[in-house]
Protein backbone atom coordinates (compact mmCIF):
# COMPACT_ATOMS: atom_id res chain seq x y z
CA UNK A 1 0.00 0.00 0.00
CA UNK A 2 2.87 2.37 0.69
CA UNK A 3 3.85 2.10 -2.98
CA UNK A 4 0.41 3.26 -4.02
CA UNK A 5 0.47 5.97 -1.37
CA UNK A 6 3.78 7.30 -2.69
CA UNK A 7 3.02 7.13 -6.38
CA UNK A 8 -0.69 7.79 -6.60
CA UNK A 9 -0.15 11.27 -8.08
CA UNK A 10 1.90 9.86 -10.92
CA UNK A 11 -0.74 7.25 -11.63
CA UNK A 12 -3.33 10.03 -11.75
CA UNK A 13 -1.32 12.15 -14.19
CA UNK A 14 -0.63 9.29 -16.55
CA UNK A 15 -4.24 8.18 -16.39
CA UNK A 16 -5.23 11.68 -17.55
CA UNK A 17 -2.66 11.56 -20.38
CA UNK A 18 -3.90 8.15 -21.47
CA UNK A 19 -7.55 9.22 -21.39
CA UNK A 20 -6.60 12.19 -23.56
CA UNK A 21 -4.63 9.97 -25.94
CA UNK A 22 -7.63 7.63 -26.15
CA UNK A 23 -9.89 10.52 -27.09
CA UNK A 24 -7.49 11.74 -29.77
CA UNK A 25 -7.01 8.31 -31.30
CA UNK A 26 -10.54 6.93 -31.14
CA UNK A 27 -13.01 9.81 -31.32
CA UNK A 28 -14.11 10.97 -34.74
CA UNK A 29 -15.49 14.34 -33.74
CA UNK A 30 -12.87 17.05 -34.07
CA UNK A 31 -14.04 18.88 -30.93
CA UNK A 32 -13.62 15.69 -28.89
CA UNK A 33 -10.15 15.24 -30.33
CA UNK A 34 -9.29 18.79 -29.27
CA UNK A 35 -10.68 18.06 -25.79
CA UNK A 36 -8.38 15.04 -25.78
CA UNK A 37 -5.40 17.29 -26.52
CA UNK A 38 -6.51 19.51 -23.65
CA UNK A 39 -6.62 16.49 -21.32
CA UNK A 40 -3.12 15.44 -22.37
CA UNK A 41 -1.89 18.97 -21.65
CA UNK A 42 -3.48 18.93 -18.20
CA UNK A 43 -2.01 15.52 -17.42
CA UNK A 44 1.46 16.65 -18.43
CA UNK A 45 1.18 19.83 -16.39
CA UNK A 46 0.08 17.88 -13.31
CA UNK A 47 3.00 15.53 -13.85
CA UNK A 48 5.45 18.43 -13.94
CA UNK A 49 4.09 19.89 -10.70
CA UNK A 50 4.17 16.45 -9.08
CA UNK A 51 7.86 15.99 -9.80
CA UNK A 52 8.64 18.96 -7.57
CA UNK A 53 6.13 18.19 -4.84
CA UNK A 54 7.09 17.46 -1.24
CA UNK A 55 4.50 16.02 1.14
CA UNK A 56 3.17 18.76 3.43
CA UNK A 57 5.41 21.32 1.71
CA UNK A 58 4.57 25.01 1.52
CA UNK A 59 4.41 27.30 -1.45
CA UNK A 60 7.82 28.50 -2.69
CA UNK A 61 7.26 32.06 -1.51
CA UNK A 62 9.54 33.88 0.90
CA UNK A 63 7.77 33.46 4.25
CA UNK A 64 8.29 32.26 7.84
CA UNK A 65 7.61 28.62 7.04
CA UNK A 66 9.66 28.64 3.89
CA UNK A 67 12.70 30.17 5.56
CA UNK A 68 13.97 26.70 6.54
CA UNK A 69 13.93 25.56 2.95
CA UNK A 70 13.33 21.86 3.56
CA UNK A 71 9.57 22.14 3.63
CA UNK A 72 9.32 24.22 0.48
CA UNK A 73 8.22 22.58 -2.78
CA UNK A 74 10.48 22.92 -5.81
CA UNK A 75 9.62 26.20 -7.58
CA UNK A 76 11.18 25.32 -10.95
CA UNK A 77 8.45 22.89 -12.15
CA UNK A 78 5.84 25.47 -11.18
CA UNK A 79 7.55 28.02 -13.40
CA UNK A 80 7.68 25.43 -16.18
CA UNK A 81 3.99 24.66 -15.76
CA UNK A 82 3.06 28.33 -16.06
CA UNK A 83 4.83 28.42 -19.41
CA UNK A 84 3.37 25.09 -20.47
CA UNK A 85 -0.17 26.25 -19.61
CA UNK A 86 0.23 29.34 -21.78
CA UNK A 87 1.53 27.22 -24.65
CA UNK A 88 -1.31 24.75 -24.18
CA UNK A 89 -3.91 27.50 -24.25
CA UNK A 90 -2.55 28.95 -27.46
CA UNK A 91 -2.45 25.56 -29.15
CA UNK A 92 -6.05 24.89 -28.09
CA UNK A 93 -7.19 28.32 -29.27
CA UNK A 94 -5.57 27.76 -32.65
CA UNK A 95 -7.06 24.27 -32.86
CA UNK A 96 -10.56 25.55 -32.13
CA UNK A 97 -10.27 28.36 -34.65
CA UNK A 98 -9.10 25.85 -37.26
CA UNK A 99 -12.10 23.69 -36.33
CA UNK A 100 -14.42 26.63 -37.02
CA UNK A 101 -12.85 27.19 -40.44
CA UNK A 102 -12.96 23.47 -41.17
CA UNK A 103 -16.67 23.42 -40.38
CA UNK A 104 -17.25 26.31 -42.78
CA UNK A 105 -15.53 24.44 -45.59
CA UNK A 106 -16.91 20.95 -45.04
CA UNK A 107 -20.12 21.48 -43.09
CA UNK A 108 -19.13 18.72 -40.67
CA UNK A 109 -16.66 18.01 -37.90
CA UNK A 110 -16.65 14.26 -38.48
CA UNK A 111 -13.05 13.36 -39.19
CA UNK A 112 -14.08 10.31 -41.21
CA UNK A 113 -15.67 12.60 -43.77
CA UNK A 114 -12.79 15.09 -43.93
CA UNK A 115 -10.09 13.28 -45.80
CA UNK A 116 -9.45 14.71 -49.20
CA UNK A 117 -5.69 14.58 -48.75
CA UNK A 118 -4.13 11.16 -48.81
CA UNK A 119 -0.73 9.55 -49.05
Amino acid sequence: MTFLYDYVHYAGCFALVLIGLYAVLVKTNLIKVIIGIGLIDTGVNLFLVTTGYIRAGTAPIFSEAAAQGETMVDPVPQALVLTAIVIGVSVLALALSLAIRLYRHYGTLDLRKIKELKW
Partner: protein, 495 residues
Protein backbone atom coordinates in the same frame (compact mmCIF):
# COMPACT_ATOMS: atom_id res chain seq x y z
CA UNK B 1 31.66 41.87 -27.92
CA UNK B 2 28.29 41.20 -29.53
CA UNK B 3 26.20 38.69 -27.68
CA UNK B 4 24.57 35.76 -29.55
CA UNK B 5 21.39 36.48 -27.62
CA UNK B 6 20.77 39.29 -30.12
CA UNK B 7 20.12 36.58 -32.72
CA UNK B 8 16.92 35.81 -30.83
CA UNK B 9 16.05 39.16 -29.27
CA UNK B 10 16.23 41.34 -32.38
CA UNK B 11 13.92 39.23 -34.60
CA UNK B 12 11.53 38.72 -31.68
CA UNK B 13 11.33 42.47 -31.11
CA UNK B 14 10.94 43.19 -34.82
CA UNK B 15 8.18 40.58 -35.10
CA UNK B 16 6.00 42.44 -32.66
CA UNK B 17 6.95 45.79 -34.16
CA UNK B 18 5.28 44.75 -37.42
CA UNK B 19 1.69 45.63 -36.40
CA UNK B 20 2.92 49.02 -35.14
CA UNK B 21 4.80 49.72 -38.36
CA UNK B 22 1.74 48.84 -40.35
CA UNK B 23 -0.01 51.84 -38.84
CA UNK B 24 2.69 54.11 -40.29
CA UNK B 25 2.99 52.57 -43.71
CA UNK B 26 1.68 49.33 -45.20
CA UNK B 27 4.60 49.12 -47.60
CA UNK B 28 7.16 48.93 -44.82
CA UNK B 29 5.77 45.67 -43.41
CA UNK B 30 7.33 43.38 -46.00
CA UNK B 31 10.79 44.78 -45.33
CA UNK B 32 10.80 43.86 -41.64
CA UNK B 33 11.49 40.11 -42.06
CA UNK B 34 14.18 40.97 -44.61
CA UNK B 35 15.80 43.35 -42.14
CA UNK B 36 15.61 40.84 -39.28
CA UNK B 37 17.09 38.01 -41.31
CA UNK B 38 19.82 40.17 -42.84
CA UNK B 39 20.82 41.19 -39.32
CA UNK B 40 20.85 37.55 -38.18
CA UNK B 41 22.87 36.46 -41.19
CA UNK B 42 25.60 39.05 -40.64
CA UNK B 43 25.75 38.51 -36.88
CA UNK B 44 25.80 34.72 -37.05
CA UNK B 45 28.54 34.69 -39.68
CA UNK B 46 30.64 37.12 -37.61
CA UNK B 47 30.11 35.04 -34.46
CA UNK B 48 30.67 31.75 -36.29
CA UNK B 49 34.26 32.68 -37.11
CA UNK B 50 34.92 33.21 -33.40
CA UNK B 51 32.91 30.23 -32.16
CA UNK B 52 34.95 27.77 -34.24
CA UNK B 53 37.78 28.10 -31.75
CA UNK B 54 35.75 28.61 -28.57
CA UNK B 55 31.96 28.34 -28.09
CA UNK B 56 30.29 31.47 -26.72
CA UNK B 57 28.21 30.78 -23.60
CA UNK B 58 25.60 33.36 -22.65
CA UNK B 59 24.27 33.36 -19.08
CA UNK B 60 20.99 35.05 -18.37
CA UNK B 61 20.47 37.01 -15.19
CA UNK B 62 24.17 36.63 -14.30
CA UNK B 63 23.54 33.17 -12.81
CA UNK B 64 26.20 30.64 -13.68
CA UNK B 65 25.16 27.36 -15.39
CA UNK B 66 23.62 24.96 -14.44
CA UNK B 67 21.27 27.28 -12.55
CA UNK B 68 20.38 29.69 -15.33
CA UNK B 69 18.91 29.37 -18.77
CA UNK B 70 21.94 29.65 -20.98
CA UNK B 71 22.65 29.85 -24.68
CA UNK B 72 25.46 27.77 -26.13
CA UNK B 73 26.56 29.41 -29.36
CA UNK B 74 28.94 26.72 -30.57
CA UNK B 75 30.00 26.11 -34.18
CA UNK B 76 27.00 23.86 -34.80
CA UNK B 77 24.41 26.26 -33.40
CA UNK B 78 25.80 29.26 -35.23
CA UNK B 79 26.23 27.35 -38.49
CA UNK B 80 22.57 26.36 -38.40
CA UNK B 81 21.60 29.89 -37.31
CA UNK B 82 23.45 31.25 -40.35
CA UNK B 83 21.71 28.73 -42.61
CA UNK B 84 18.32 29.65 -41.14
CA UNK B 85 19.07 33.34 -41.67
CA UNK B 86 20.31 32.81 -45.26
CA UNK B 87 17.28 30.78 -46.36
CA UNK B 88 14.99 33.00 -44.29
CA UNK B 89 16.38 36.09 -46.00
CA UNK B 90 15.86 34.63 -49.48
CA UNK B 91 12.34 33.52 -48.71
CA UNK B 92 11.49 36.86 -47.07
CA UNK B 93 12.52 38.76 -50.22
CA UNK B 94 10.52 36.30 -52.31
CA UNK B 95 7.46 36.72 -50.08
CA UNK B 96 7.48 40.52 -50.51
CA UNK B 97 6.18 40.16 -54.05
CA UNK B 98 4.24 36.90 -53.77
CA UNK B 99 2.30 37.23 -50.50
CA UNK B 100 -0.22 39.93 -51.28
CA UNK B 101 -3.59 38.52 -50.28
CA UNK B 102 -5.03 38.03 -46.83
CA UNK B 103 -3.64 39.35 -43.58
CA UNK B 104 -0.11 40.03 -44.81
CA UNK B 105 0.84 41.72 -41.55
CA UNK B 106 0.08 38.55 -39.58
CA UNK B 107 1.95 36.52 -42.16
CA UNK B 108 5.09 38.55 -41.55
CA UNK B 109 4.73 38.40 -37.74
CA UNK B 110 4.34 34.62 -37.81
CA UNK B 111 7.11 34.22 -40.34
CA UNK B 112 9.63 36.03 -38.15
CA UNK B 113 8.41 34.12 -35.08
CA UNK B 114 8.89 30.81 -36.90
CA UNK B 115 12.48 31.70 -37.72
CA UNK B 116 13.11 33.04 -34.21
CA UNK B 117 11.89 29.73 -32.81
CA UNK B 118 14.22 27.83 -35.13
CA UNK B 119 17.19 30.03 -34.19
CA UNK B 120 16.38 29.61 -30.50
CA UNK B 121 16.28 25.83 -30.77
CA UNK B 122 19.74 25.59 -32.29
CA UNK B 123 21.27 28.03 -29.80
CA UNK B 124 19.76 27.06 -26.46
CA UNK B 125 21.54 24.94 -23.87
CA UNK B 126 18.50 24.39 -21.68
CA UNK B 127 16.09 21.53 -22.19
CA UNK B 128 12.88 23.34 -21.29
CA UNK B 129 13.95 26.38 -23.28
CA UNK B 130 14.37 24.02 -26.23
CA UNK B 131 10.76 22.96 -25.75
CA UNK B 132 9.52 26.56 -25.57
CA UNK B 133 11.29 27.57 -28.79
CA UNK B 134 10.02 24.39 -30.36
CA UNK B 135 6.48 25.40 -29.55
CA UNK B 136 7.06 28.90 -30.95
CA UNK B 137 8.18 27.28 -34.19
CA UNK B 138 5.34 24.75 -34.23
CA UNK B 139 2.49 27.11 -33.41
CA UNK B 140 3.55 29.66 -36.00
CA UNK B 141 3.94 26.96 -38.61
CA UNK B 142 0.46 25.53 -37.88
CA UNK B 143 -0.99 28.98 -38.47
CA UNK B 144 1.10 29.64 -41.57
CA UNK B 145 0.12 26.35 -43.20
CA UNK B 146 -3.50 27.48 -42.89
CA UNK B 147 -2.64 30.99 -44.11
CA UNK B 148 -4.55 30.82 -47.39
CA UNK B 149 -7.62 29.46 -45.60
CA UNK B 150 -8.62 27.09 -48.39
CA UNK B 151 -9.95 23.56 -47.85
CA UNK B 152 -6.64 21.77 -48.25
CA UNK B 153 -4.75 24.30 -46.15
CA UNK B 154 -7.14 24.15 -43.20
CA UNK B 155 -7.42 20.37 -43.33
CA UNK B 156 -3.67 19.81 -43.40
CA UNK B 157 -3.08 22.44 -40.71
CA UNK B 158 -5.57 20.63 -38.45
CA UNK B 159 -3.84 17.33 -39.09
CA UNK B 160 -0.44 18.90 -38.46
CA UNK B 161 -1.66 20.57 -35.27
CA UNK B 162 -3.12 17.39 -33.76
CA UNK B 163 0.02 15.37 -34.43
CA UNK B 164 2.32 18.20 -33.44
CA UNK B 165 0.46 18.85 -30.17
CA UNK B 166 0.68 15.20 -29.13
CA UNK B 167 4.36 15.16 -30.09
CA UNK B 168 5.15 18.20 -27.97
CA UNK B 169 3.21 16.79 -25.00
CA UNK B 170 5.24 13.59 -25.20
CA UNK B 171 8.47 15.59 -25.37
CA UNK B 172 7.36 17.57 -22.32
CA UNK B 173 6.73 14.36 -20.37
CA UNK B 174 10.24 13.27 -21.33
CA UNK B 175 11.65 16.57 -20.07
CA UNK B 176 9.64 16.20 -16.86
CA UNK B 177 11.04 12.71 -16.26
CA UNK B 178 14.59 13.99 -16.79
CA UNK B 179 13.97 16.91 -14.43
CA UNK B 180 12.54 14.54 -11.85
CA UNK B 181 15.68 12.42 -11.99
CA UNK B 182 18.37 15.06 -12.27
CA UNK B 183 16.82 18.17 -10.74
CA UNK B 184 18.29 20.30 -13.50
CA UNK B 185 17.33 21.35 -16.99
CA UNK B 186 20.75 22.30 -18.29
CA UNK B 187 21.66 19.87 -21.05
CA UNK B 188 25.33 19.93 -20.11
CA UNK B 189 24.55 19.18 -16.47
CA UNK B 190 22.25 16.28 -17.35
CA UNK B 191 24.82 14.94 -19.81
CA UNK B 192 27.48 15.00 -17.11
CA UNK B 193 25.43 12.90 -14.69
CA UNK B 194 23.63 10.71 -17.20
CA UNK B 195 25.17 7.48 -15.91
CA UNK B 196 24.27 8.12 -12.28
CA UNK B 197 20.59 7.11 -12.46
CA UNK B 198 18.54 4.02 -13.22
CA UNK B 199 18.58 3.13 -16.94
CA UNK B 200 14.86 2.42 -17.14
CA UNK B 201 13.81 6.00 -16.47
CA UNK B 202 16.46 7.22 -18.88
CA UNK B 203 15.16 4.92 -21.57
CA UNK B 204 11.58 6.14 -21.02
CA UNK B 205 12.69 9.74 -21.29
CA UNK B 206 14.75 9.04 -24.43
CA UNK B 207 11.86 7.26 -26.13
CA UNK B 208 9.46 10.09 -25.28
CA UNK B 209 11.86 12.83 -26.38
CA UNK B 210 12.72 11.16 -29.69
CA UNK B 211 9.06 10.47 -30.42
CA UNK B 212 8.12 14.02 -29.48
CA UNK B 213 10.76 15.82 -31.49
CA UNK B 214 10.61 13.16 -34.20
CA UNK B 215 7.16 14.40 -35.20
CA UNK B 216 8.65 17.70 -36.32
CA UNK B 217 11.71 15.94 -37.74
CA UNK B 218 9.42 13.74 -39.89
CA UNK B 219 11.05 10.47 -38.88
CA UNK B 220 9.28 7.58 -40.59
CA UNK B 221 6.25 6.48 -38.61
CA UNK B 222 5.61 10.03 -37.42
CA UNK B 223 5.53 11.93 -40.70
CA UNK B 224 1.97 11.52 -41.98
CA UNK B 225 1.34 15.25 -41.61
CA UNK B 226 4.28 16.37 -43.73
CA UNK B 227 3.19 15.83 -47.35
CA UNK B 228 -0.17 17.50 -46.71
CA UNK B 229 1.20 20.43 -44.75
CA UNK B 230 4.11 21.11 -47.08
CA UNK B 231 2.03 20.89 -50.21
CA UNK B 232 -0.94 22.95 -49.01
CA UNK B 233 1.06 25.79 -47.48
CA UNK B 234 1.91 28.89 -49.54
CA UNK B 235 5.14 28.27 -51.48
CA UNK B 236 7.44 30.44 -49.31
CA UNK B 237 6.21 28.58 -46.23
CA UNK B 238 6.71 25.22 -47.91
CA UNK B 239 10.28 26.29 -48.59
CA UNK B 240 10.83 27.26 -44.95
CA UNK B 241 9.13 24.14 -43.55
CA UNK B 242 11.13 21.84 -45.81
CA UNK B 243 14.35 23.78 -45.67
CA UNK B 244 14.45 24.68 -41.99
CA UNK B 245 11.69 23.32 -39.75
CA UNK B 246 12.50 19.65 -40.40
CA UNK B 247 16.23 20.26 -39.98
CA UNK B 248 15.64 21.87 -36.64
CA UNK B 249 13.70 18.80 -35.53
CA UNK B 250 16.61 16.64 -36.66
CA UNK B 251 18.96 18.92 -34.72
CA UNK B 252 16.92 18.41 -31.54
CA UNK B 253 16.93 14.63 -31.97
CA UNK B 254 20.66 14.61 -32.71
CA UNK B 255 21.45 16.84 -29.73
CA UNK B 256 19.52 14.49 -27.44
CA UNK B 257 21.09 11.32 -28.83
CA UNK B 258 24.68 12.56 -29.06
CA UNK B 259 25.17 15.21 -26.41
CA UNK B 260 22.55 14.46 -23.80
CA UNK B 261 22.80 10.66 -23.86
CA UNK B 262 25.86 9.72 -25.90
CA UNK B 263 24.41 6.23 -26.25
CA UNK B 264 26.24 4.06 -28.73
CA UNK B 265 23.55 1.41 -28.80
CA UNK B 266 21.05 3.78 -30.40
CA UNK B 267 23.14 4.63 -33.46
CA UNK B 268 22.33 1.56 -35.52
CA UNK B 269 18.65 1.99 -34.71
CA UNK B 270 18.84 5.59 -35.93
CA UNK B 271 20.59 4.52 -39.14
CA UNK B 272 17.98 1.86 -39.90
CA UNK B 273 15.14 4.24 -39.07
CA UNK B 274 16.72 6.77 -41.43
CA UNK B 275 16.98 4.20 -44.18
CA UNK B 276 13.31 3.26 -43.80
CA UNK B 277 12.34 6.95 -43.91
CA UNK B 278 14.52 7.41 -47.00
CA UNK B 279 13.05 4.50 -48.95
CA UNK B 280 9.44 5.22 -48.06
CA UNK B 281 9.83 8.93 -48.86
CA UNK B 282 11.47 8.32 -52.24
CA UNK B 283 9.05 5.56 -53.25
CA UNK B 284 6.04 7.71 -52.42
CA UNK B 285 7.57 10.71 -54.20
CA UNK B 286 7.99 8.63 -57.34
CA UNK B 287 4.26 8.07 -57.71
CA UNK B 288 3.07 11.65 -57.15
CA UNK B 289 1.36 13.81 -59.75
CA UNK B 290 1.31 17.01 -57.73
CA UNK B 291 4.69 18.72 -57.90
CA UNK B 292 4.55 20.15 -54.37
CA UNK B 293 3.59 16.81 -52.87
CA UNK B 294 6.44 15.26 -54.80
CA UNK B 295 8.87 17.75 -53.30
CA UNK B 296 7.43 17.14 -49.83
CA UNK B 297 7.93 13.38 -50.12
CA UNK B 298 11.41 14.00 -51.42
CA UNK B 299 12.06 15.99 -48.22
CA UNK B 300 11.07 12.92 -46.20
CA UNK B 301 13.57 10.93 -48.22
CA UNK B 302 16.34 13.44 -47.60
CA UNK B 303 15.60 13.53 -43.87
CA UNK B 304 16.03 9.77 -43.91
CA UNK B 305 19.43 10.15 -45.55
CA UNK B 306 20.46 12.75 -42.95
CA UNK B 307 19.40 10.43 -40.12
CA UNK B 308 21.29 7.57 -41.73
CA UNK B 309 24.44 9.71 -41.91
CA UNK B 310 23.98 10.69 -38.26
CA UNK B 311 23.68 7.01 -37.39
CA UNK B 312 27.20 6.40 -38.71
CA UNK B 313 28.28 8.51 -35.71
CA UNK B 314 31.85 9.14 -36.82
CA UNK B 315 33.18 12.67 -37.33
CA UNK B 316 33.05 12.24 -41.11
CA UNK B 317 29.56 10.77 -40.90
CA UNK B 318 28.17 13.63 -38.86
CA UNK B 319 30.02 16.13 -41.08
CA UNK B 320 28.29 14.51 -44.02
CA UNK B 321 24.93 14.71 -42.25
CA UNK B 322 25.39 18.41 -41.53
CA UNK B 323 26.56 18.98 -45.11
CA UNK B 324 23.34 17.30 -46.25
CA UNK B 325 21.37 19.58 -43.92
CA UNK B 326 22.94 22.62 -45.59
CA UNK B 327 22.68 21.32 -49.15
CA UNK B 328 19.13 20.06 -48.79
CA UNK B 329 18.04 23.28 -47.11
CA UNK B 330 19.39 25.34 -50.02
CA UNK B 331 18.21 23.01 -52.78
CA UNK B 332 14.74 22.42 -51.40
CA UNK B 333 14.07 26.11 -50.89
CA UNK B 334 15.19 26.86 -54.45
CA UNK B 335 12.91 24.06 -55.71
CA UNK B 336 9.85 25.19 -53.74
CA UNK B 337 10.34 28.85 -54.62
CA UNK B 338 10.84 28.22 -58.34
CA UNK B 339 7.89 25.84 -58.40
CA UNK B 340 5.96 28.55 -56.57
CA UNK B 341 6.40 31.08 -59.40
CA UNK B 342 5.55 28.43 -61.99
CA UNK B 343 2.37 27.47 -60.13
CA UNK B 344 1.39 31.14 -59.87
CA UNK B 345 1.79 31.38 -63.66
CA UNK B 346 -0.09 28.21 -64.64
CA UNK B 347 -2.52 28.05 -61.74
CA UNK B 348 -2.04 24.31 -61.40
CA UNK B 349 0.30 22.16 -59.33
CA UNK B 350 0.04 19.12 -61.62
CA UNK B 351 3.37 17.98 -63.03
CA UNK B 352 1.87 17.92 -66.53
CA UNK B 353 1.26 21.68 -66.33
CA UNK B 354 5.03 22.25 -66.20
CA UNK B 355 5.40 21.24 -69.87
CA UNK B 356 7.73 23.51 -71.80
CA UNK B 357 8.55 25.72 -68.82
CA UNK B 358 12.13 25.84 -70.10
CA UNK B 359 10.86 28.13 -72.86
CA UNK B 360 8.10 29.89 -70.96
CA UNK B 361 10.10 30.80 -67.84
CA UNK B 362 13.71 30.02 -68.69
CA UNK B 363 15.35 31.40 -65.55
CA UNK B 364 12.98 29.76 -63.06
CA UNK B 365 13.26 26.48 -64.94
CA UNK B 366 17.05 26.73 -64.90
CA UNK B 367 17.07 27.33 -61.13
CA UNK B 368 14.67 24.41 -60.64
CA UNK B 369 16.95 22.18 -62.68
CA UNK B 370 20.04 23.19 -60.71
CA UNK B 371 18.21 22.63 -57.42
CA UNK B 372 17.01 19.21 -58.57
CA UNK B 373 20.47 18.19 -59.79
CA UNK B 374 22.01 19.31 -56.50
CA UNK B 375 19.43 17.27 -54.57
CA UNK B 376 20.17 14.17 -56.64
CA UNK B 377 23.87 14.71 -55.97
CA UNK B 378 25.28 15.55 -59.39
CA UNK B 379 28.58 17.43 -59.51
CA UNK B 380 29.42 20.34 -59.57
CA UNK B 381 26.60 21.23 -57.17
CA UNK B 382 26.74 21.19 -53.37
CA UNK B 383 24.61 18.03 -53.06
CA UNK B 384 27.40 16.02 -54.65
CA UNK B 385 29.95 17.07 -52.04
CA UNK B 386 27.47 16.26 -49.27
CA UNK B 387 26.51 12.80 -50.50
CA UNK B 388 30.13 12.05 -51.29
CA UNK B 389 31.11 12.83 -47.67
CA UNK B 390 28.46 10.40 -46.43
CA UNK B 391 29.67 7.63 -48.72
CA UNK B 392 33.26 8.31 -47.65
CA UNK B 393 32.23 8.08 -44.00
CA UNK B 394 30.69 4.65 -44.59
CA UNK B 395 33.83 3.29 -46.19
CA UNK B 396 35.95 4.66 -43.37
CA UNK B 397 33.85 2.54 -41.00
CA UNK B 398 34.92 -0.74 -42.64
CA UNK B 399 31.75 -2.35 -41.32
CA UNK B 400 30.01 -4.69 -43.75
CA UNK B 401 26.59 -3.84 -42.38
CA UNK B 402 26.97 -0.16 -43.14
CA UNK B 403 28.33 -0.91 -46.62
CA UNK B 404 25.16 -2.86 -47.35
CA UNK B 405 23.02 -0.10 -45.87
CA UNK B 406 24.66 2.64 -47.96
CA UNK B 407 23.99 0.47 -51.01
CA UNK B 408 20.30 0.56 -50.17
CA UNK B 409 20.53 4.30 -49.48
CA UNK B 410 22.08 4.91 -52.90
CA UNK B 411 19.23 2.93 -54.42
CA UNK B 412 16.98 5.60 -52.92
CA UNK B 413 19.09 8.20 -54.71
CA UNK B 414 18.53 6.40 -58.00
CA UNK B 415 14.76 6.54 -57.48
CA UNK B 416 15.14 10.24 -56.65
CA UNK B 417 17.12 10.81 -59.86
CA UNK B 418 14.43 8.99 -61.83
CA UNK B 419 11.59 11.27 -60.78
CA UNK B 420 13.59 14.47 -60.96
CA UNK B 421 14.87 13.67 -64.47
CA UNK B 422 11.29 12.99 -65.49
CA UNK B 423 10.33 16.52 -64.43
CA UNK B 424 13.41 18.16 -65.97
CA UNK B 425 12.62 16.34 -69.21
CA UNK B 426 9.12 17.82 -69.14
CA UNK B 427 10.54 21.28 -68.53
CA UNK B 428 12.82 21.26 -71.55
CA UNK B 429 11.72 18.66 -74.07
CA UNK B 430 7.95 18.99 -74.09
CA UNK B 431 6.33 21.69 -76.20
CA UNK B 432 4.66 24.44 -74.17
CA UNK B 433 0.85 24.50 -74.41
CA UNK B 434 -0.78 26.66 -77.12
CA UNK B 435 -1.05 30.34 -76.37
CA UNK B 436 1.46 30.37 -73.51
CA UNK B 437 4.16 32.07 -75.60
CA UNK B 438 3.97 35.51 -77.21
CA UNK B 439 4.62 36.20 -80.91
CA UNK B 440 8.39 36.23 -80.55
CA UNK B 441 8.19 32.74 -79.02
CA UNK B 442 9.07 33.92 -75.53
CA UNK B 443 7.21 33.37 -72.32
CA UNK B 444 6.73 35.73 -69.43
CA UNK B 445 9.35 35.40 -66.70
CA UNK B 446 8.55 35.68 -63.01
CA UNK B 447 8.77 39.11 -61.33
CA UNK B 448 12.32 40.23 -60.61
CA UNK B 449 11.89 40.39 -56.82
CA UNK B 450 10.95 36.70 -56.84
CA UNK B 451 13.76 35.74 -59.21
CA UNK B 452 16.56 37.48 -57.31
CA UNK B 453 16.35 35.38 -54.10
CA UNK B 454 15.97 32.17 -56.13
CA UNK B 455 18.97 33.18 -58.20
CA UNK B 456 21.11 34.03 -55.16
CA UNK B 457 20.34 30.71 -53.46
CA UNK B 458 21.14 28.92 -56.73
CA UNK B 459 24.46 30.74 -56.97
CA UNK B 460 25.26 29.63 -53.40
CA UNK B 461 24.52 26.03 -54.46
CA UNK B 462 26.93 26.27 -57.38
CA UNK B 463 29.67 28.17 -55.52
CA UNK B 464 29.58 25.80 -52.56
CA UNK B 465 29.59 22.88 -54.97
CA UNK B 466 32.65 24.08 -56.85
CA UNK B 467 34.39 25.17 -53.67
CA UNK B 468 33.15 22.91 -50.81
CA UNK B 469 35.68 24.47 -48.42
CA UNK B 470 33.25 27.39 -48.07
CA UNK B 471 31.16 25.22 -45.75
CA UNK B 472 33.33 22.27 -44.84
CA UNK B 473 35.76 24.40 -42.81
CA UNK B 474 32.84 25.06 -40.43
CA UNK B 475 31.18 21.66 -40.76
CA UNK B 476 33.94 19.68 -39.14
CA UNK B 477 34.08 21.78 -35.92
CA UNK B 478 30.28 21.62 -35.91
CA UNK B 479 30.35 17.82 -36.13
CA UNK B 480 32.87 17.66 -33.28
CA UNK B 481 30.64 20.02 -31.30
CA UNK B 482 27.81 17.51 -31.66
CA UNK B 483 29.84 14.36 -31.06
CA UNK B 484 32.27 15.37 -28.35
CA UNK B 485 30.18 15.37 -25.24
CA UNK B 486 33.03 15.99 -22.79
CA UNK B 487 34.14 19.19 -24.53
CA UNK B 488 30.56 20.47 -24.62
CA UNK B 489 30.15 19.87 -20.89
CA UNK B 490 33.49 21.51 -20.11
CA UNK B 491 32.70 24.61 -22.14
CA UNK B 492 29.29 25.11 -20.55
CA UNK B 493 30.00 24.21 -16.95
CA UNK B 494 33.61 25.34 -16.88
CA UNK B 495 36.43 23.50 -15.19
Amino acid sequence: MVSPILLIVVPLGLAFAVPLLERISKKLVGYVPVLAMAFNLVLSVVLLRRAVSEPIIVHTGSWQPPFSIHLVAGPLGLLLAALIALIGLGVAVYAMSTIREGATRLYHVLYILLLTGATGIVLTGDLFNLFVFFEILCISSYALVAYRGDRAGIESATKYLIQGAIGSSLALIGIGILYGMFGTLSMADIAQHIHSVAPFGLFMALALLITGFGVEAAIFPLNAWLPDAHSSAPSPISAILSGIAIKVGIYAVARIIFTLYGLETVFLFVAVLGLLTLLIGEMSAFSQNNIKRLLAYSSIGQVGLILFALGIASVTGVTGALFLVVSHGLAKSVLFLSVGVMITRTGSAEISSLDGMGKRMPLSALCFTIGAFSLIGLPPFVGFAAKFTVVRAVFEQTSTLFTVLIGVALLGTVVEAAYFFRIVQRLYFKPPPEGSLDHAGRGQEAPLSALIPIGILTVVIIVAGVYPGLFSSFLEPAATDLLDKAVYIRHVLGG
